[in-house]
Symmetry: C2
């Protein structure tokens, strides 16, 4: 039986503006036909509910029940197998128990089903069995073109099509927000919340365990969906970071993407900081609370993004105005300065004792008319990038009438209008009026200010992104090509000897090959050689033993310093040799390194890289010296860096303010630091055999920048495949792997 | 006409448990008679409303209207003056315009009115006139014993007496929370919110401009009020910090005091940090959001404080459980480890695939019975200090029935039970059931975790407070009395010469007089004298010119270092003399100081004091050296310090972890640092002529602690009276002003 909808179309315009079915995920969110597979197993209400939702609600496509036994369900005939269904199937909803899923996916592949949702959590199985099942499912899927959502997906909802392929009994209202979460429980809560707060949804997707369809696929798809204006994500794991980053970067500049990442408590602070910088790099707004996710979803759905950080606050009470301005300033917003025209006009309109500034305190006896006249005028002030109206319940206050007046004002375009109707039952009707009129409402005025700051930070993020990605094209010394031959020699030596770290001299040479300024450093195997290097250097020198990772800690940091004469150098060589043989073993002495004594006056910085298990190479910059681990004053960035991105990264540290501000020393030229980091990022990208670089300290003063010490760790033969060459985020920077590792 | 209540008593038990009227503020919150003064002027609805509330609602005392003209209002006869009223008046509510208030207060004084509330904002007057009026009001009040609330007070409410002396038409429900705010608008919003959320109030007071009755008065009063179990404060200014601190300290250990301080955006971060440490010192819990104030009010009203940080989380969805545990760990809580008995019992009860740990994921099909059985068992686990139950709307979920089952469980005592019923309309009934049963409910699970952490931090705060205040009684070197004669000489010299700062040698001597270890430092007016000191020191020395605040910056930091021989010392003296005469002027050279060369290996710390305009002397500790201003890694404390308080203060810095942890150096003994700060705090308290002390660096290593440099600023003759000798927070520490300043 070819089943058609049982309820006629109501409030939604069907298939209008819906993609044409050519995108693979159209079959997920705009399917023309659906098979619900495994209906004979549905003893549980959960699964009955899914099927009932598909046929009872207003979805207009064809729905088929597939069950290995059983004569039918509800009004539907039941087909034994999906290949018995008489028309091609876009979407299969596999609700059978986990053990049957691989076989059912195989049947779907055989008849050309385009997408399958797997709802089974496999939660009746043990962990090992689950992994085995997933492998089997993927093996079946790999025989064709089918895409899979789940397992453990709660399903999908597309209110514009009346499509409710979830067990939730209520359908979301159609609107402009797409909501994605791995968790079915969170999807259910968001659905209920959206109905309660009258927030319209364009798509609701529960991704489950993401063995196939992931963040990148859905963000890319929703980026092209004309119904979706913003994408709200509750993320437990990022899974495939590059797919996420590419898609988010392409979409974020036209549609806000807001992410609440949970599950971070089990991660290192470092991993979390890298995630932060990845989100920033692709223009995603990260929030830290579920309530913020909801608040931002609401306000972004209703209001434009501000052009600047300047907020005007209109209030009928001084206290609430202060609460709002405190929160505004704390979160980086600015209290807008009203234009003289606005002030003059308000002086004419308001009682003599009004606040004469921003926050605009209209006094406790402000009625709807006074509110409306002031709001209209203040909203039009060109000095404001946004407006917050606060109403607190006072004896003369009429929350409903005031809201009614405010919603009739025609507000200037491009300026967010927020409101906080404080209080309890008395303000609900007014709040509802404002909300329906598209004004973002908040119970507390400080929350409203914070939401405005989020909005502004998001705008700012996107602006920075635009200006930061282009590498200046210069052909001067700054962009001189690296000495790849020298690099190749170092890499080959390390590889041949099976070492996983470079010694100090190799490490500094590697940096030097990429144009990073390093302290002159020479290896000497004999006292005579050491003396020759000292004479070539021509100033006082220091001698240190050449060490490797096996060198006992007690002697690794030994040195002889302030050596002025040949005799002193010779004596120091002998002393170090004797010390090493005695303390580290007879075979351990491999010679010394000779370096000029360096005047340490200046800032001690840290620069380097490490390999994040998800995002691959990451560049670090921060406060260096021996206390680097105490203050952890450092910023992370994903390479490649442009000078602008390097600057933005440095600006996130405290030490950068000291470098460039005046703390009793001459300042450091930020451009030399920018290029230091740009070259370091190039090294990190082009030499994927490097696992980690620690340059500590980098000595920075007004007239020089010098790497004094470096430690480079390289991948052994066990380098994970995923961490070898990988895509980079900008096509403007050089990222051809050098031949060094391949040599 | 002697007016009696127009509505009979209803839900409240009158005057039962209410104080006996002997406390002066009984006349404010439990008055036996009220005069509303200025009724003839009440053209505005606001003021009519106040009077109507007093006579229409269930207040049982006598209410009189006083008006210079007019024949009466409502059913009340109007008396021309308050002395015409035929009985003694406890509380006068002066609703007349500001200009008439001084005279009316005078009349109240004459007839022995005990408390007057002044509602007028004076907002029709200019700033100067307002100040003048306030002076006049205080002058009139000063003639008697009357206490004043306001001006610009919204009034007071005591639901237990049916007393609504505000213009708000609704009366709060009787309950256990006292709410205090300066702002009438915030009081109004809180009142509405409390009714909407069914939170009971014991007293609502709008303090207005606090020319008389302030925080300390009300906290002290409510501390003795048996109805009040917690005190919630929205504070715009602290006004009289000592009165606040004394009262809060006395009350906070028995009744939670929660403060939202607003208006901080205009203050320095330093002033805010001092406020923070003052709140901590007196056991007050500070929150940063209006929503937190409400949430904590609710949860404290309903639930006990936890004995420890260990929370158990029961949920029917993995995602919400992760959100809750993320927030818990982020805010310093601990995921409780279930006892083996609990785990074994749940293994028997739950489907095989439950989470087998905390969070307890009961799976998406958990019904009311499964929830109830698990919650009952988990609540009883001795390894938990609190319990959070999360319900997310899933197809098998019954939010109302689940809530109904949970509220019937008998929970163990002393353990807070929180709940988060996620979703929209479907969960409201369940949420309401839980709330009525005294369970703290939160819309979002992460908010619930954060509330638990606030509860725990508050408990911990109080515990620390108890153990920290006693000074160990020892008679050893650590508590050796200061050399007050030496101090007196320094103070006298500074005072006689009219200087506002001590020179380096005086500064170090002052520290030394209080037992702080300082680098040996000697003044030499001639080369010969410098050589003699160098010889007495016996190691390499450094010479610096003796400087004062007028010394040009360019030469102030000049020194000659590593001087080994008499000849070198002589030459250095001559060079410094010549340099000073040339660069700073012929009369500027006052000799040099001679110090031994110090090996700088160790941590560079900062210690000192400054004078906060509100709180007086404050002790500082943190990271020192030249980057001290960059990292601002410092903690503040109000003196006097005990060793425990000094430790708590240091623990709030990052550098302290480095000092005592292992970062490749030997650790510093925290006890030497504690006593350094204890002695410094004693100096700060006993010598009120000192305005500021900067000791930077204090060199700290495993075997020594040494102040290398100090700068002491003293009050000139213009020292503000309020900052001279002042009360201190503990009677255990010595705080007799020394005779030095008086000499």
């Amino acid at each position: 039986m070819n089943h058609s909808v049982m309820t006629p179309p109501t409030r939604v315009t069907r298939l209008d503006g819906i993609p044409d079915g050519k995108h693979p995920l159209d079959a997920l969110l705009a399917p023309r036909s659906i098979a619900v597979i495994g209906t004979s197993e549905i003893s549980e209400d959960v699964d009955r509910a899914v099927l009932r939702n598909l046929i009872d609600q207003s979805y207009s496509g064809n729905v088929y029940a597939v069950a290995s036994r059983g004569a039918g369900i509800f009004d539907l005939r039941s087909y034994p197998r999906v290949d018995d269904v008489p028309e091609p199937i876009d979407l299969a909803l596999i609700i059978a128990p986990a053990a049957q899923v691989p076989e059912l996916v195989g049947q779907c592949v055989d008849v050309g089903v385009r997408v399958a949702i797997i709802t089974s959590s496999g939660s009746r199985e043990t962990g090992r069995a689950v992994a085995e099942l997933e492998r089997e499912i993927l093996a079946e899927a790999g025989r064709g073109q089918i895409r899979l959502l789940g397992p453990k997906s709660f399903g999908v909802m597309n209110p514009f099509l009346g499509l409710n392929a979830t067990p939730a009994s209520l359908m979301a209202q159609p609107g402009n927000i797409a909501f994605l979460s791995q968790s079915g429980a969170v999807c259910g809560a968001v659905l209920d919340w959206s109905l309660h707060e009258k927030i319209g949804i364009s798509a609701l997707v529960s991704l489950g365990k993401m063995i196939d369809i992931g963040w990148g696929d859905l963000i890319g798809y929703l980026g092209d969906d004309p119904r979706t204006r913003s994408i709200i994500i509750h993320m437990e794991s990022i899974h495939d970071p590059h797919s996420f980053l590419w898609a988010a970067r392409a979409v974020a500049s036209t549609k806000p993407i807001i992410v609440l990442k949970s599950g971070g408590a089990g991660e290192s602070p470092e991993a979390d900081a890298v995630l932060d910088c990845a989100f920033r790099r692709c223009g995603v707004l990260r929030v830290r609370r579920l309530s913020h996710l909801f608040a931002m979803a609401e306000v972004l759905a209703k209001q434009p993004r501000p052009r600047g950080p300047r907020l005007m606050i209109v209030t009928n009470g001084g206290g609430p105005g202060v609460l709002a301005s405190d929160a505004l300033l704390e979160d980086g917003g600015v209290l807008a300065t009203p234009s003289p025209e606005t002030l003059a006009a308000l002086d004419d309109e308001l009682p003599r004792c009004w606040s004469h500034g921003n926050p605009f305190d209209l006094l406790e006896d402000a009625g709807p008319e006074r509110f409306a006249r002031v709001v209209e005028r203040v909203a039009a002030d060109p000095n404001a990038d946004g407006l917050l109206v606060i109403l607190s319940p006072q004896p003369m206050t009429d929350p409903t009438q005031t809201a009614d007046r405010l919603r009739r004002i025609s507000y200037p375009e491009g300026k967010p209008i927020l409101a906080s109707w404080m209080g309890g039952a008395d303000v609900l009707a007014g709040e509802d009026l404002l909300s329906r009129a598209g004004i973002g409402t908040f119970r507390n005025p400080d929350s409203a200010s914070r939401a405005f700051c989020y909005l502004w930070r998001y705008s700012e993020n996107l602006r920075t992104l635009g200006e930061a990605t282009a590498m200046p094209s210069t052909d001067d010394e700054q962009t001189r090509p690296p000495d790849l031959e020298a690099v190749a020699v170092i890499a080959r030596d390390a590889r041949r000897s099976g070492r996983t770290s470079l010694n100090e001299i190799e490490s500094l040479r590697l940096l030097s090959a990429y144009g990073l300024p390093t302290v002159p450093t020479f290896a000497a195997a004999s006292a005579e050689e050491a003396v020759r290097w000292a004479q070539a250097i021509g100033t006082s020198v220091a001698l240190k033993p050449l060490t490797d990772p096996d060198t006992p800690r007690a002697v690794a940091h030994v040195s002889r310093r302030d050596l002025d004469e040949a005799e002193a150098v010779s004596r120091a060589f002998a002393a170090l040799e004797e010390l090493m043989r005695r303390k580290a073993g007879p075979d351990h002495f491999r010679g010394v390194i000779v370096q000029p004594m360096i005047d340490l006056d200046g800032f001690k910085l840290f620069a380097g890289s490490h390999t994040d298990p998800l995002f691959g190479p990451v560049v670090l910059f921060g406060f260096g010296g021996r206390l680097t681990e105490v203050f952890k004053d450092r910023a992370y960035a994903l390479p490649p860096l442009t000078p602008t991105l390097a600057r933005r990264m440095m600006e996130r540290t405290r030490i950068y303010r000291a470098l460039t501000g005046n703390h009793g020393r001459e300042t450091v030229d930020p451009r030399t630091l920018e290029w230091f980091l740009v070259r370091l990022s190039r090294l990190v990208i082009e030499q994927p055999w490097i696992k980690q670089i620690d340059i500590n300290p980098v000595l920075a003063s007004h007239d020089r920048l010098l790497a004094l010490n470096a430690r480079v760790v390289v991948w052994g033969p066990d380098v994970p495949e995923s961490l070898r060459p990988r895509p980079v985020l900008s096509a403007d920077a050089p990222h051809q792997p050098s031949p060094a590792w391949l040599a």
